[in-house]
Structure formats: structure tokens, C-alpha cells
Amino acid sequence: MTAVSPTPAAASLADWSCPLPLRDYPSIVMGHGGGGQLSAELVEHLFRPAFGGSDPAPLTDSAVLTLSGARIAYSTDSFVIKPLVFPGGTIGSLAVHGTINDLAMSGAMPVALSAGFILEEGLPMELLARIVNDMGAAARAAGVRIVTGDTKVVERGKGDGIYINTSGIGVVGAEVHIAPSRARAGDVVLVSGTIGDHGMAIMSQREGLEFETTIESDSAALHTLVAALLAAVPDVHVLRDPTRGGVASSLNEIAADAGVGIEVNEEHVPVRGPVRAACELLGLDPFFVANEGKLLAIVPPEAADQALAALRAHPLGSEAAIIGRVVREHPGMLVGRTGIGARRVITMQIGEQLPRIC
């Protein structure tokens, strides 16, 4: 390995960053929804050209619009998970938390949500009641109202019980400017707590994979944590909730958007013991596993300690940690410092993370 001839590898980089549009799949495969490269290509090569027109605005999880002088964040998310009920939540609470968090990551204080239901014929009324009660409870706890909605029913066999879409709006303060492109060399990267909890909680319940565990989803609304962080450090550069594709995908996207490198110290990234063990067992990497109640924050170096203290003072950030920094080197790449003091490139996954055979 040490004698790699560097020239051909360097020549390959252009191909890596700009693959031809959707060239090897004539129809949708599961990986297009995995939050990795295939998802990104779908947005880049199909959605953006179709929707974009002349406006170069990025199609991010949440948009900030200026309406009559007010800055309004707007976001939408669909929830198509199995199982519908999992340790630590249901599809209902997840649908509320997910959209609140998308809004919060632009620095917005969420105000109102919509709820769209696609129900499958035969869904037990009791289960639906549990899910919507859970939604209501999550929204009330977050201080956000569900103000409009829609219900459709599809034939038995044409859906997985229930799909939920939520959209939301929120208000962004005039002084808040959070965007991935604001990551600067020297900035410090923080995570608000342990990673991989949600993905492994779901995985532990999936058909054919059931394993006994105490892992619970971290599903939570993060807007009050964001508010506490912004109160302490108004100049937060980037916020991101590392959901599908995990911390690895989020940091790769930020590195690409800002044209910077990011380096993380793998040993500093908090991972709960049972999550680490389950990942070992299944051949998965916690860096790629989904979270639903964690945020990544990138802040100027002089504000790092204040940011860490503000996160740790909040119940949802008590295990927050500084995990890395933004660097000028290797733009567009995420590099991990491994436990034995070497380095590895952590690439974005292509589709879904696949369990390895051995």
C-alpha cells in the first residue's frame, strides 16, 4: 500500500465528483432514498433542473424566505419507516421532530406544522390513534401547533400501514446566518451527543434482524437546544442534524458545499456501548447510522468552549463533545483520525449502508 503510484489516482478525482446523471439505474432503487450519493444525484440531475429555473438557490432540507420583511424558514419531510413503533418513539413523534429539526437547523424557531397522511386500507384504528396521539404530544411538548392536514387512503398492499408527511414554518432572527457554505478553516466541529442511537434502535426491530437490546431512539425536537446555543454563540456558522447517512454524510456535504476539509478525531465522537456493539456485530459503521435527536455545529474557534458549555447545559446536549475541526487541506473531504493514530478518508456512502458478510 505504501508504494501507491499517485498519478492515476489523482486523474480519477474528476470522475468521482461528477458522475453522469443516473446512468446505471433506469428505475428507482432503494438507494435513491438512502441519503447518500444516489439521493444527491437525483436532486442534482433531475429535481434541480426541473424545479430550479434561473434561480440558483440550493435545494436544501429547509429554505429561508424573506416575506414582507420577515425571515421565514420552510421545510418538508416524509416518513416511511418500518417498524411504525420503535423503542423511544413512533412514526408520529418522529414526523414532528424531523420537520422541527429541519427548521431548527436553519436557526429558525418553529411555529406551525402541517400533517399529511397516506393510510393503507386495513390499518388498525387503535394503531392510528396511538400514532396521532404521539404526534400531538410531541408537538405540544415542543410548543409547535399542527394547523392543517390531509388524509388519503390507498388499497391494502399499496402502502406500509401509514406514511406521514409534515411541513413546517418557523421564524429566523435577523442576526442568524447559518449555512453550510460558512464553514471556514479553523472552525471547530461539535456534536450534541452520542451518535447512531436512532438507526440502531430501528435496526434492532427490523424483521429478520431482531436482537435484544436496550438501545432507544434519540428522536427529539432540537429547537430549544439550538436556541440555547445561539444565545451563547450568535455567530454559529453551520448546523446540521445528521439523520439518514449519519454524521459521515452530513460532514461530507458540508465539506463539499464550503470547499473545505473536515477532520474528526474518531475517539472523541461519543458512541453508546450497545450501539457500538450492535454496529460491530452487523458490520456497520456508526458514522453512517441515522440520528434523530442530535446536531452537528460548526463554530468559530474562539467560541468553541462557549458553544460546548451551552450545549452541555441543555438536557439534550449533556453528552456534547468537540469532535474535530475545519481545515484548509483536502477540500471536499472528511478525514478521520483513527484510534491508532493513523488517518482514513470517510467517504459518503453510495446508497444504503449494507451489512458486510464477514
Binding site: 500500500m1 505504501t2 508504494a3 501507491v4 503510484s5 499517485p6 498519478t7 492515476p8 489516482a9 489523482a10 486523474a11 480519477s12 478525482l13 470522475d15 468521482w16 458522475p19 446512468r23 446505471d24 439505474y25 428505475s27 428507482i28 432503487v29 432503494m30 438507494g31 450519493q37 429478520g208 434482524l209 475517539e267 456501548g273 457500538r276 456493539a277 460491530e280 452487523l282 459503521d285 487541506e329 483536502h330 473531504m333 478525514v335 483513527t338 484510534g339 491508532i340 493514530g341 493513523a342 488517518r343 482514513r344 478518508v345 467517504t347 453510495i350 446508497g351 449494507l354 451489512p355 458486510r356 458478510i357 464477514c358
Partner: protein, 369 residues
């Protein structure tokens, strides 16, 4: 985690690496046989701690990489059948066949399922008596006992709707073939620890003697791999060629005898094609005559499917250590992890995918200089 974190200690890793650097006086090419070891080397950056004289050659021990294209095409044909539930380990789903992969078959309506154990596939056969459940039985000696057990149970229970598409390969014949290849550069082997946990290591002393090559049974954690390399370099520098067991907490000389007994009953040795390498005599297992009814190749009559590999892909030479991935004209051009020509570019432990990602670090180091 007990028995895991102890073998990832950064300070001890640095000490082992320093010792390797200290005793190395000449260039040595060492092949780690198993894909799991390759994964650990790259995941932890172990190669970066080694002196420039030591070259690690990624061997043919990634089952995903060596399963022949023809077998993938047979899997795709079976998986597309309407009454079939096709079960596979996860990372086989993205391996390209001639014109598509299992993900594509799934998107077109095929019932393709990821399972963690072949016994899950047997359970599916019990639950769905009107459908044919097929398990894609690939891998080395490590995965073989569970696969054998699945077929054994299906026979005992009289499950007529379970079968297995078998493409099992064996490590010792591969080592023999690599050492016999005229272009061989490999001077020592890290043998695959988990293969030896099943088979023991009684098969290896004749190989070490015949080819005058050190073979060190090696584990998978960073300290295991570094210890394996250290012992290998010691032998190489001293001109020795012994079999050493550096994975004593798991591997014994005899191995797992009940597992070997079951393997003897369910499987029979056969010639096997290795993707990119070609046929190696007596290098694999097929179902034995007593279990022939459970052979998916017979049940679905896919024996006529024959496939030729892309002439552009030189994965075979890579797997034998004859060339580096970067020597292949397709590498990084039409062949990338996103659009792989061969399986070595698919799996994260495939040599080409590893070089592709690692090559990006090489570029980064040059930027720093």
C-alpha cells in the same frame, strides 16, 4: 467492550509499529488473505504506520470479490422468478452481474431479502411453504458451517421449498495457486484467522514448506494485524518459513471438529472459478451427492448460463498481487465505486475500492508537501 478495545490500544499499536520499523531491513511483500483484514487495515490506517519497505497486498479473501460473474448472473436469473424469495448477505446486492445487480432485480419486482444468517432463510421457507426460498451461499470456510447447517436442517425437516446457490471457496488452494503463479510477488501470508477458527491450521505447514513461505495466522483488530505483520517480518528477515499462530485466543491446530464433520457431510470438494482469476482445481465446495436436491442450480436449471468477464477489468491480476489497481487502465476512469466494472471496486474491502479511496489520501499528502 471486553476482548475488543484491548486490541485497539493506540499506544501499543505505535510500539508494535516501531518494532516493525526497527527490524525491517529489506523490502517485503506480504499478502493479507482475508477481506476482513483488508477492511481493518484500511479502516484503522494500519498501513500508514508501516515502514515504506513493507508492501501489503490485498488477497483474494473477499467473498464478494471472488464470486464469479457467472454465479451472479445465475443469482439474478433465479431472483427474478415470480415464486422465489431470494435471500443474500447484504453486500452481494450491489455486485454487478452482466447487465444489472440484485438491487435492480428487487426494484423490478423480485423478492430479494437481506438476511444475516442462512438459518433465517430456512425460517422463511417454513413460513412460506408455497414459495421457493433460495439462499446465496457464498464465502470461505468461515461462512460454510452455518450454510451447511441450513441445508442439513432443511433436509431433516423435509423442506422441499428451500435450496442454496452454492459458490464456496477455500483458502489453502488459493494460497497454493498464488505461489505457483509465474508473476507472483508474495513473500509471506497473513492467514485468515476466522477461516482457521473453523478449519484449524493443519492444512498450512505443507504449504509453508513447499513454497518456503512464512504463514502467520492473524486476527482482525489493529493489534492482531500489527502482531501478525511483526511475526511475519521477523521470519522473513531471519530467512525462516514456518506456520505461526498469532490468533491463539480463537484458533487451535485442529479447529472446530464438529463443524468440520458437518462440512464433510454436506459439501464435497470441487473445482471452482474465482472471479477474475479463473478455475482453481479443488478450490471450492459444492453440495455433496446426498444433498444434491437442495442445489439451486439444479432446481432452477440455470446451468446453461455462461458468462464472460469484461476484458477491461484486470481484477484477477490485482487479486493475485501481480499488479496494483492503479496499473489498470480502467481504474478511476470508467471503473469507480459508483460504477464498478469488477467486484474489487464494489466491496469496501475490495482492493480497487480501497485504492480508490486511499489514493485520495495520497493526493492529500502531496498537497501538504
Amino acid at each position: 467492550m471486553k476482548y475488543l478495545t484491548e486490541f485497539r490500544d493506540g499506544a501499543i499499536a505505535q510500539r508494535l509499529a516501531a518494532e516493525i520499523r526497527q527490524i525491517t531491513t529489506k523490502p517485503w511483500a506480504i499478502m493479507e488473505v482475508c477481506g476482513g483484514q483488508t477492511h481493518s487495515i484500511l479502516r484503522n490506517g494500519i498501513d500508514q504506520l508501516l515502514p515504506p519497505e513493507i508492501e501489503l497486498i490485498h488477497g483474494p479473501g473477499c467473498p464478494v470479490c471472488v464470486t464469479p460473474l457467472e454465479m451472479i448472473d445465475k443469482a439474478l436469473a433465479i431472483a427474478a422468478l415470480p415464486d422465489v424469495i431470494f435471500c443474500s448477505f447484504g453486500d452481494m446486492l450491489r455486485v454487478p452481474g452482466s447487465d444489472r445487480d440484485l438491487f435492480r432485480v428487487k426494484s423490478e419486482g423480485g423478492d430479494v431479502r437481506i438476511v444475516y444468517s442462512p438459518l433465517d432463510a430456512v425460517a422463511l421457507a417454513r413460513q412460506h411453504p408455497t414459495r421457493q426460498v433460495v439462499f446465496f451461499g457464498i464465502g470461505f470456510e468461515t461462512t460454510a458451517p452455518a450454510n451447511a447447517m441450513a441445508v442439513h436442517m432443511a433436509k431433516r425437516e423435509g423442506l422441499t421449498n428451500f435450496s442454496m446457490l452454492v459458490s464456496h471457496v477455500l483458502v489453502p488452494p488459493a494460497i497454493d495457486a498464488i505461489m505457483n503463479a509465474p508473476a507472483n510477488r508474495v513473500q509471506a501470508f497473513l492467514a485468515a484467522g476466522h477461516v482457521c477458527s473453523v478449519m484449524g491450521f493443519w492444512q498450512y505447514p505443507p504449504l509453508a514448506t513447499r513454497h518456503r513461505v512464512p504463514i502467520v495466522i492473524t486476527g482482525f483488530e489493529p493489534l492482531d494485524v500489527l502482531d501478525g505483520i511483526l511475526r511475519t517480518v521477523r521470519q522473513l528477515e531471519a530467512g525462516e518459513h514456518r506456520v505461526e499462530n498469532a490468533y491463539e485466543r480463537v484458533v487451535t491446530f485442529d479447529g472446530n471438529l464438529p463443524a468440520q464433520q458437518l462440512l464433510d457431510e454436506v459439501f464435497a470438494e470441487s473445482d471452482r472459478a474465482w472471479r477474475g482469476i479463473g478455475v482453481i482445481p479443488r478450490s471450492g465446495w459444492r453440495l455433496s451427492d446426498a444433498y444434491a436436491d437442495f442445489d439451486a442450480e439444479h432446481r432452477f436449471d440455470v446451468r446453461d448460463i455462461t458468462t464472460v468477464e469484461s476484458a477491461r477489468c484486470r481484477a484477477g491480476e490485482v487479486l493475485q498481487g501481480a499488479i496494483k489497481p492503479t496499473d489498470c487502465a480502467a481504474f478511476g476512469a470508467e471503473c469507480t465505486p459508483r460504477t464498478p466494472l469488477g467486484a474489487t471496486m464494489v466491496s469496501t474491502e475490495g482492493a480497487c475500492a480501497a485504492y480508490f479511496n486511499y489514493g485520495r489520501v495520497v493526493q492529500l499528502e502531496r498537497v501538504r508537501v
